[in-house]
């Protein structure tokens, strides 16, 4: 099948590329746009290392095709970093050593931010069990998750309490 033209917005910038239909979103981001912050871990939707935001919802970049993103708004770790949207979460991860090798971290941050945004909307600090449940689609081999839960819990508390 021949390549298709797609136009989308990636991290606030308009992008137009010609891609093969079989190209996954994460391969498109990494190889065509050189946005290497999104990582490839399993390529079958289990590990969550490729988690990015498409039209405001977190998705697995390995389970979505680039051609499906024609007209979409895509946000990756590079965009989330540059906009400052998750600066407090990144700082909490750094202070709590909630990452070791860092390979799962961009996806983990995107998944955590998804929970934190909802928590902020309903003004409710999620329990540790709820945090664990929400992050249960993101595989981390290094930390054992305890530190990640600590960091997310701390940010949830700070956001809900200080920004009511």
């Amino acid at each position: 099948m021949s390549a298709l033209d797609i136009s989308l917005t990636v991290n606030g910038e308009p992008v137009s590329e010609r891609v093969e239909p079989r190209r996954t979103l994460v391969d498109f981001l990494r190889e065509d746009l050189a946005l290497t912050g999104s990582h490839v871990g399993c390529e079958h939707g289990v590990c969550g290392a490729c988690t990015v935001r498409v039209n405001g919802e977190i998705v697995r970049g390995c389970l979505m095709l680039a051609v499906q993103c024609d007209g979409a708004t895509v946000e990756t770790i590079e965009g989330l970093s540059d906009s400052g949207e998750i600066a407090d979460l990144q700082l909490a991860f750094e202070q709590r050593n909630a990452l070791q090798c860092g390979y799962c971290t961009p996806g983990m941050l995107a998944a955590a931010q998804d929970l934190l945004k909802r928590a902020q909307e309903i003004k409710n600090v999620p329990s540790r069990d709820e945090i664990r449940e929400h992050l249960s689609g993101n595989y981390c081999r290094c930390t054992g998750y305890h530190a990640i839960v600590d960091a997310v819990e701390a940010v949830a508390r700070a956001r809900v309490v200080s920004k009511p």
């Binding site: 991860f93 990452l99 070791q100 860092g102 390979y103 971290t105 664990r132 992050l135 595989y139 054992g144």
Partner: protein, 798 residues
Amino acid sequence: MKITGDSPPVLSALDRPNSYIGRSVPRPNLQRLTQGRGLYVSDVSLPRMAHVAFVRSPHAHAKIKNISADAARKSPGVIAVVTGPELAKVMTPWVGVLTHLKGLKSAPQSPIAVDVACWQGEAVAAVVARSRAEAEDGCELVEVDYTPLPAVTDPETALDAKTPVIHSSLGDNLCFERKLDVGAVDKAFAEADAVVETTFMFGRHTGVTTEPRALVADWNAGDRRMTVYHGTQAPHMMQDLFAKHLGLASDQVRVITKDVGGSFGIKVHCYADEMATVALSKLLTRPVKFVADRIESFVTDIHARDHRVKAKIGVNKDGTITAFEIDDLTGVGPYSVYPRTSGIEANQVVSLVGGPYACANYRAQARVVFTNKNVMCQYRAVGHPLAVAVTEGLVELAAAKIGMDPLEMRRRNLIADDAYPCTSAAGLKFEKLSHHESLAHLDAMMNYAGLRAEQKNLRDKGIYRGLGFASFIEVTNPSAAFYGVGGARITSQDGATVKLDSQGAIIVHTGVTEQGQGAESVIAQVAATAFGVSIDKVRVVTGDTDNTPYGGGTWASRAAGIGGEAAWQAGKALRDNVLAVAGAMLQAKPEALDIRNGIVVDKANGTERLPLEELARVAYFRPDTLPPGFQAELMATRHYVPRAWPFAFTNGIQASYLEVDTDTGFVKLLKHWCVEDCGTIINPQLVDEQIRGGVVQGIGAALFEQCLYDERGQMLNGNMADYLVPMAAEMPDIDCGHVVSPTADSELGAKGAGEAGTAGAPACIMNAINDALRPLGAQPLTDMPFTPDKILRALGKV
């Protein structure tokens, strides 16, 4: 807020005015990683770079009759299709043996199979193309004509006369054998009040690093050098291997290791497909990239822990352990893995069983056999999870048999804290351990008595909770005794170079590598303290064989203890050199000066004399103003290797509290504790996180992880949907505690902390499950992983 703040220094012996020893300073490299700005090998792209994908054997054992690649060669984007015999012209085969493991044997292994494929997943041809996708398209078009051969898949029958021999040149399927008989074992069993005997089974599992193995090899025919960007734990070791098997001098090979997406022992071995990638780059004179996909990771990343251990313990009514005996059998795949060999894991089991206990009678046998499954080798905590599970499983079964509390049983048998130095029955030399203090700490930390009361109350309501424990010892800071003495070119020493830059900051080059464990932070903390600057004035450089001192890298929990000591000594040496310059500038005696927070001060009263920035300006740009004949030396290198002890043993104890659903067989982990003694703690937060991460890998082994093979040698669950790993929702919070017994072998006194969590956790979980189910009369579970169906079977429900 649960975020731990910076904690004050705890160690007076190393307490310099701006000491970072014992403080939880954040790692300097984390912002790069939280922003997605790391540079993993998967991210590396070079001009003219090609990608390789491998055609892999679908058979566990098969003769390769013919490979037809014409269609693949015509596939769009394909640059070359290369077979084993073709690649053999560029690269020599290797044999994974060590002379100190007497009798260990293996067969030559090639980068791509020649004539015979020996496991499902072994590469039989390489397709190099402009993109990975095109390389995989090409693989689809390669036709391989195989003659299937009988597969050896059961270790129990691998040595039987009627079982085919995998490598006829070796004569049989025995890779390695070790026997040990110490004390009077038969007498001790005969005179014991009770003897408990059982068989422990351990599921073959693997590392599942989040970033798969990856490298980019770049042979530059112009300067005749091979540069390899490699996600490895041991750059200098790989430099040596690449050079040796390509017929190059080692200075013709440069290995660069940037960010590594997890390693845990998976990335410290010689992999055939990685060697092939390097050889392909030389053959094709262009950069070639290989990134394993998850499916190939499962069938080619080393597996570990596939052991069957028959075990026996003798015990008296007063709780005294009279003897241990084990018979270990393990099937390691068709080759002993190069260069560390596949004999070490079983060797460790023999050495470590019974290790925490003062029991003089011990008999062990271990046999390592070849099979037609993926290769096995050293993965985090090598051998320890098995030895600890066998020992601690026996101890708790014996305690139950004589009706003694499991902690009391340990109190009566653990080597006394004042008995050191001493030697174990297996011959391990212990400098200073703290089993009893650790146990007391754990007892208090977890409120043992309170949990026992809660457990009893809940049992009356039909809720079955269990408490399980595991005392352990752990090999860290290895000397040359581990590999060097056996002829492997794996260095146990490590080096650090510290240099003053022109603005008064320092740059540290270290031979140890960062795998996410925090080595860069530890090295920076140590160098800043030894030299006398704040930590933001330290930059650490790792992972480049052209630019770092020759070193072993990261394995066997050595980075902090060995690399840290080298950095400590180098920092002190540079301080002396800089104070010589300061003395010349200030007309003062160098020994009366010190460096504190980046300023040269009078040692006696701390009076500030000269900022380092000014000293560096003069030394670098106005050396003409220094006294005639004085030469400033602003770079210092020191090396360190443990000499007094072959290994710095650490110790500790873990506990697990869990609940078993007796209707479904599901296990809910409620809490986990670990008290560990790793000597001097350089960064408490990093030590705790190593323990937590390690514990969870051990929990994976106990509850979820197993590479399932059928009798034909086909792996049945080689993907992340079917091979289960610990995820956040199932894992407990983990509390850590510490006892500090520094090693006197180094000034820092630090031992390793990277593997203790993994060593003890499986035993804890096993013991806790059995503790939960004991009142129901369930057969003790000793066959990991403890899946719901095994639990229901033990309960007689299915």
